[in-house]
Symmetry: none
Subunit: 256 residues, 2 copies
Amino acid sequence: MPDTHHPPAIILVSPQMGENIGAAARAMGNFGLSELRIVSPRDGWPNPAAEAMAAHALPIVQAARVFTSLSNAVADCQQVYATSARLRDMQKPVVTAREFSSPHPSQPLASPTSPSGRGLKTAILFGRESSGLSNEELAYAHTLLTIPVNPACPSINLAQAVNIVAYEWFQAQSDAATQLTESPELTTHIPAPMEEFEGFLRQLEAHLDAINFWKVAEKKPKMRQNLRHLFLRAQPSSSEVQTLRGIVSSFSQKKP
Amino acid sequence: MPDTHHPPAIILVSPQMGENIGAAARAMGNFGLSELRIVSPRDGWPNPAAEAMAAHALPIVQAARVFTSLSNAVADCQQVYATSARLRDMQKPVVTAREFSSPHPSQPLASPTSPSGRGLKTAILFGRESSGLSNEELAYAHTLLTIPVNPACPSINLAQAVNIVAYEWFQAQSDAATQLTESPELTTHIPAPMEEFEGFLRQLEAHLDAINFWKVAEKKPKMRQNLRHLFLRAQPSSSEVQTLRGIVSSFSQKKP
């Protein structure tokens, strides 16, 4: 389980579309964030479009706190990050979404680029869809947070930007919390013991011999080896080996 | 600049909402992907809602190819990943979105968890909003791709799932480019395109039908799926597919 002691607050500054607010909340829920703050939403509050898009994260939308100024919205925060694509001429440190979540261990805890939420109340600002954050709004942030994008197509949807940042935060929490998350994968597939596997190969080759499959005798060793590689890669289980044997037996016994 | 020689194709299987198709395309554009394929979109095609949501990625929507079957949509692909939250009882390897993009260097190039797109035509399947991919659809994939989420709120919006996968892909490409890592050609094994693979499976099944292999009719669908899993794991090359076809043909023509 991720450490959710101090997850960052997501602050949407003057969001325009309720759908984006709802989609942002849904992404927050997917990735373990729950504290949504909204500064001066264009269409007022509550917003039915936001609630409709939130899906199972509806409680996050319903618990959102609405502020009339960014100043009030960040009042209790100790660390403020501002998402921005415009990084020039800013006298601020810049981190990527990944660096925000997984800072270098040597960084001091209280620096602006320290891990969000390990003891410090942290907020991440996201600007309006049309124009992002103003310079005045960016000035509230200690650090700029940027998402590396294809420069030919740099404009990220508001909810998708929240999605990426929340995703990175959750992955970092999960990594830190447990390396011991046992992966469920592959546990159900158990390759057969080699003796069963070899038994199938011998059976297959015997039948191929019987029908004179190898036509050119010199090619047989290479073809046998290729067949072995092929079936080795599949790593058939015991029951799969039985199925393969069944197929070979059926073919050799019956003529269509 | 990221290496965009072989970016994966994004395949949306029976998407329901045009808005999600458009938002997925926008996310693709942000992160350097451009090849969108759509299987049986619920609301037909073209879809004005998709175009409206695509923003600057409109060309991706306009260039999308629409298919009437998943089989056709993956026909030219050599590696197929299926996004899924349901990982149990699947006889397939599982990778996270991050592992998909940044596999362990020791993995051979042609393994199911090898880097997407270093020379292999790769597709990533995303299921319908309501219910994801069916078991039959999952059966087309070599590997499952999962996005770790908060278990209390696991349902990810379709476009946000595409967003995460595209984001991870782009970050990995950027990292690789900045490190100037030329990854050497690690293998000569190149999986056959799916249409050749499917051709072999159809031939095998036709012959198994002809010899009444399935004895108990109710078991046939499950057995067919198991055979598919088994051979998918092997990822046979084109010449191996030819060998397998040759074996089936020989068996069906000659009696020992």
